[in-house]
């Protein structure tokens, strides 16, 4: 057989520019997709403007089916019958994403609209001593509640994170006999209602006189709620670390403890940080345990064992239903501050968790 090779053209190829031919679409594709997006949008816009049907209803019973239909027709027109499924999945995925974003945005928006009036520098650091519900917004703040929430989260994390990760390590790496039971109880524990955790600490620690209502007692109640979330998420991410790494380390003469501490956990570092963040996210807004275990205080309390301490959820709870507009605005403002605090915490953790070496 004769070989049919063409000549090499090296000068020509050195001048080539990197292209992305798969991004090019034929004209009829671009036009039909544009139509499939614009037509349902215009129909819905017309309905919203010129009819009395409620907007949500229009979106669900007109827009979604219409958009699915348009996407299906476009898919068949461009790529044949087989691609209908593809287009439907794309529409549903985008639809679901937009839907959840809309809900999230409206929560944020209502927080901002109602709470922005309270936000100011002094609102973030002053406390509420000498402040009553009718005091105007120029005075007082939630500094005491911020400090309290922060202390309680810190205590809860110090307790729950090591225990949670150790539990996960027990399940994935120690693989002891009790694994099925441990896993079962961790799972059961994640169903404990937050008020029960608060009552538990109240009865065994506070009512017995062992501790006051305090940041520490609140932290204990939070730790009970955090623990199963941290343990289960950490277990999932440790399971993702390939066994090859474990055997690789063992084959270098490592002890099992060193395998876990120096190979497995570092490999799963971002996942572990996610586990901690999910644990914090699980508890940060919980009100009931703190009402019972941490109490309330108008002043700033720094000693975690000494006396009752304020926290943002309890502050919101105490103010939001009062018949004074300024108190309600303060409640919304502190909710907004809590959201911002969470955002800052999570961004910080993500940035700190970003490693320069590869991981799973």
């Amino acid at each position: 057989m004769t070989i049919l090779f063409s000549e090499q053209t090296s000068e020509e190829s050195a001048a080539q520019k990197p292209l992305h031919p798969w991004r090019k679409k034929p004209r009829k594709f671009t036009i039909s997709v544009a139509l499939a997006v614009v037509v349902p949008f215009l129909v819905v816009l017309a309905l919203l403007l010129y009819s009395n049907i409620p907007g949500a209803l229009v979106m669900v019973i007109v827009y979604l089916p219409l958009q699915l239909l348009a996407a299906g027709i476009t898919a068949v027109y461009n790529r044949g019958v087989r691609s209908i499924g593809d287009s439907m999945i794309v529409v549903l995925a985008i639809g679901a994403t937009v839907f959840s974003l809309v809900i999230l945005m409206s929560v944020l928006l209502s927080l901002v609209v109602r709470g922005i009036g309270a936000l100011s520098a002094h609102f973030l650091y002053q406390n509420s001593v000498y402040i009553n519900p009718s005091t105007p917004l120029e005075y007082g703040g939630i500094g005491h509640a911020m400090v309290g929430t922060f202390l309680i989260l810190l205590i809860a994390s110090i307790i729950a994170v090591p225990i949670g990760i150790a539990t996960a390590v027990y399940i994935t790496d120690v693989r002891g006999r009790a694994v099925p039971y441990v896993r079962f109880f961790v799972q059961a524990m994640s169903g404990v209602p937050s008020v029960v955790a608060g009552l538990f600490i109240l009865t065994i620690a506070v009512s017995t006189g062992a501790f006051n209502q305090s940041a520490f007692a609140g932290g204990l109640a939070y730790a009970i709620l955090m623990l199963p979330t941290v343990a289960r998420t950490a277990e999932e991410v440790l399971k993702l670390v390939p066994d090859d790494l474990r055997t690789g380390a063992l084959a270098l003469g490592s002890t099992r403890a060193r395998v876990v501490l120096q190979v497995v956990i570092p490999a799963a570092r971002t996942g572990i940080i996610t586990a901690i963040l999910l644990g914090i996210a699980r508890v940060i807004g919980e009100t009931a345990p703190l009402l019972l275990a941490a109490g309330n205080n108008d002043g700033t309390v720094l000693n975690p064992f000494d006396q009752a301490v304020s926290s943002i959820p309890v502050y919101i709870f105490n103010n939001v239903a009062l018949p004074y507009p300024d108190a309600v605005t303060r409640a919304w403002g502190s909710a907004l501050a809590l959201m911002i605090l969470v955002a800052v915490l999570f961004t910080l953790a993500r940035v700190l968790g970003r490693g320069r070496v590869g991981k799973y």
Partner: protein, 278 residues
């Protein structure tokens, strides 16, 4: 037949030989350059793959062989930052044309990977038929397809009594032959193989090589291999890739396998095929 007609036929054949007429070719990469982000990993690759032959791509690690075959069935573009210039002709058309559906290309140009990847949740039979299901092909003769593809892949005798067992129970070599059968079930015209034997023992390797020899009578095979003897045993043509340090890879030399291994024109090819570097 008059002399004039005869002559014109002759000229046509000559032209075909000279101009690499696409009619004879299963695939044809023309002046193909490939990037990952800003880094150029392949430059100006021209290789033609005649129909129903086996072409081996050889060269040291990191010279772009695997990247190259992933451009041949449009898997390259799935990697973020991927870019490409030049063209890849299949049935005379550029597979990167805007109106070409990559799903169709991947159906016609199958691939077998370095690590056997049978679907763990499916049985042996289910794995063989999975391509039909995934690509939405309607066929009635499932039993016949299972038997013929497993036979082509040299696995039928070993698994015919346990087609309903999980695919994960098979050995590595059997799994690799199973994924070859899976790739064949959708009747591709071209089969890309990226170091299909690198994780296998010599006996399994030999079986897969027999399979490749047999298959290349009907299907165009393009195989990346680090095993020189394997290239000699299975391929009709060989292309030798090389990348200087921090330079994009390119084809140093290509031609009939017998030529490349016995009488290469380039000193680097001679050194590589004799195991003096790489």
């Amino acid at each position: 037949m008059s002399t004039a007609e005869f002559e014109s036929v002759q000229t046509l054949e000559e032209q075909m030989v000279e101009s690499a007429a696409p009619r004879d070719l299963a695939m044809d990469a023309r002046n193909l350059s490939v990037w990952f982000g800003k880094r150029k990993v392949l430059e100006g690759v021209n290789i033609a793959f005649p129909e129903r032959t086996c072409t081996a791509l050889i060269g040291p690690s990191g010279c772009g062989k695997s990247t190259f075959i992933r451009t041949l069935n449009r898997l390259h573009e799935l990697i973020p930052g991927a870019a490409l210039a030049g063209s890849v002709l299949y049935e005379g058309k550029d597979i990167y044309d805007a109106d070409i559906d990559p799903v169709h290309i991947r159906l016609k140009i199958g691939m077998v990977f370095q690590k056997p990847n049978p679907f763990p949740s499916m049985t042996i039979r289910g794995n063989v038929l999975s391509g039909l299901k995934l690509s939405g092909m309607k066929r009635d003769d499932h039993d016949a397809i299972v038997e013929s593809t497993l036979t082509s892949a040299g696995l039928w005798n070993e698994v015919k009594d346990r087609l309903d067992h999980a695919a994960g129970d098979l050995s590595g070599g059997q799994q690799q032959r199973l994924v070859i059968a899976r790739a064949l079930a959708v009747e591709p015209n071209v089969l890309l193989m990226d170091e299909p034997c690198s994780a296998l023992d010599p006996a399994s390797t030999l079986k897969i090589e027999e399979t490749i020899r047999e298959l290349s009578k009907n299907v165009t095979i393009i195989i990346v291999t680090h095993n020189m003897q394997q290239a000699v045993r299975v391929s009709d043509h060989t292309a030798f890739f090389l990348a200087a340090e921090n330079e994009p890879g390119h084809v140093v030399e290509q031609g009939l396998t017998t030529e490349i291994f016995s009488n290469p024109k380039d000193q680097r090819t001679l050194d590589y095929v004799n195991g003096r570097f790489g």
